[in-house]
Amino acid sequence: MSHVVSPIREKLVTGGKSYHDVTHDICKQVEGEPTKEWKWAFGISCIIFAYGAYCLFYTWWQGIGVWGLNKTVGWAWDITNFVWWVGIGHAGTLISAVLLLFRQKWRTSINRSAEAMTIFAVLCAASFILAHMGRPWLAHWALPLPNAFGSLWVNFNSPLVWDVFAISTYLSVSLLFWYMGLVPDLATIRDRATTKASKFWYGFFSLGWTGSAKTWARYEYMSLILAGISTPLVLSVHTIVSMDFATSVIPGWHTTIFPPYFVAGAIFSGFAMVQTLLLITRVVFKLEDYITIEHIEMMNIVITITGSIVGIAYLTEFFIAWYSGVEYESYAFINRATGPYWWAYWMMMTCNVISPQLFWAKSIRTNLMVSFFLSIVVNVGMWFERFVIIVTSLHRDYIPSSWAMFSPTMYDIGDYIFSFGLFFTLFFLFAKFLPVVNMAEVKSVMKGVSTNYPAKKAKASTKTDE
């Protein structure tokens, strides 16, 4: 339906596309042979994945003694990587759910790939949860299953158990939301399919979709309700992740600001990762007319806002550490900024607080190369944020004789590389076999926001065939 759109609004789809052009442009990469660029990219990520898988296998085989942990620093890269990936995994649902509730139409071109990224990032996060258990084959012990210990149940008062429920609910609900969004587009591919295999598989997963008005009306309601429940869900997940720390009694972790601060940081890093991937995807799949400078700019604005919230949180944390009068708390923070890990702290401060402020200048936030570079800077900064919170809070214990430093081994690094391999392998598979842009949603916002609409067509071509 054609919405009333203010003339000052930027066009969301450029290049004078018709509905058929949208179908054609998006289906092209699914239907055609894989391009050379795709084969290279996929091949490289498979190699990274294979190397990482070796490191992860070795970690599982030998135990987490192969990591650089010591008796003072018992959590380091594992949990840093976990929180980092979970944070990245927040942007997809935020874009598809929160922006749907706020009726932000620019979400339509990017929500599909952002949601896919969410799911893959959460899987990466889950790999660290499994790895850090040490005995991953006993992972089901974290679930409330009847067992041979007289049913000794899991402790539902523990934030670590909340986390198990939060992450698994988040993963399954995101997957469901993403899949239901895919169904109409899978039907489009099914109806265009020329080979038997693609007719079968896209037909199988498109659930017999026909696009009747009744189905669409229900579908819209379903999407709205899923968005409505996913919004608090996405906020709850990182809140609960932050409670893994906040409910402990470790100075530097035991702070009430953690939930909102972690959520803002998650959105911040997630949008940065979406930005990185979109800037690559739009060039590789020639989607410049769908993912426009307008989209990039909007993303950069969100990055600036959430980056500023994160900056305020850093300062508040510091102030409260002093204002609380707890000397252990004060020391934890002074040690962060001036202790042996000062470089990590200032890396975090520079990347997360200062660099996104550059986006206040329109010329910077609409520059593709700078946006790409800064999106990576933000993700580096957010990794260091988690490293600072986890390692620098632990490495100077209450007893100076047990003070220690943490240095990663090749297996710490290798397991991190594994997550990248997993992430990019899955992302490239997604980009090849599924439509990277939600065609039905983009078509629904085209009138009024695309360049050649509303241009009235001649009614002349009426023809009848019996």
Binding site: M1, S2, S18, Y19, H20, T23, G150, S151, L152, W153, V154, N155, F156, N157, P159, W162, F165, A166, T169, S172, V173, L176, M180, P184, T188, R190, D191, R192, G203, L207, G208, W209, T210, G211, S212, A213, K214, T215, W216, A217, R218, E220, Y221, M222, I225, L226, I229, S230, P232, S236, M243, A440, K443, K447, K459, T462, K463, T464, D465, E466
Partner: protein, 172 residues
């Protein structure tokens, strides 16, 4: 839909035109079976006279079920089956259980809602779709009229469709 030639399909190429055409065709006393579109058109279901969906009610019920199930599980394990003193707190430590109760509510709502949606629309993996026009999932908006359920003659229906702006009128 079988090939008994009892369907007349008005094919439109614009969402506003099909929306207007629905009321125009209906005003001529023609009963429309259904309209098929590549994307949702707001107001189309009300124009066709479809009843408002009761999916939100189903979602609410599933949410309530999730809440009850989560609370039941936690209460059974933590209070009745094997109570343990944790941090000197009550066995019934309700505030600590809010996160998991919430997650359970969301999980049941989401899966219950989607399952209900699929059942109510008869969608399931591997179902053979009843396709009236292959372009419905691309760029065409198709109004399907069942001749057998209408008193008007096929010729009248075709004329009404053409007058309402259909770019093609087909029989299926």
């Amino acid at each position: 839909m079988s090939s008994t030639n009892n369907y007349i399909l008005g094919v439109y190429d614009d969402e506003d035109e099909v929306l207007h055409a629905v009321s125009e065709v209906k005003s001529k006393g023609i009963k429309i079976e259904e309209v098929y579109t590549p994307f949702p058109i707001h107001g189309l279901d009300t124009a066709l006279g479809h009843a408002r969906t009761r999916l939100p009610i189903a979602a609410f019920m599933f949410g309530c079920l999730g809440l009850v199930c989560a609370q039941a599980l936690i209460n059974y394990t933590m209070v009745f089956d094997w109570p343990m003193i944790i941090g000197g707190k009550d066995f019934f430590a309700l505030p600590d259980w809010i996160p998991i109760t919430f997650e359970g509510t969301v999980l049941f709502t989401a899966f219950g809602l989607v399952t209900t949606f699929c059942i109510s629309n008869d969608l399931y993996p591997g179902k053979k779709p009843e396709i009236l026009d292959i372009r419905i999932t691309d760029d065409r908006f198709v109004m399907a009229i069942n001749v057998d359920k209408n008193k008007k003659s096929a010729a009248d229906i075709k004329k009404a469709l053409k007058d309402s702006g259909a770019v093609e009128v087909n029989v299926k």
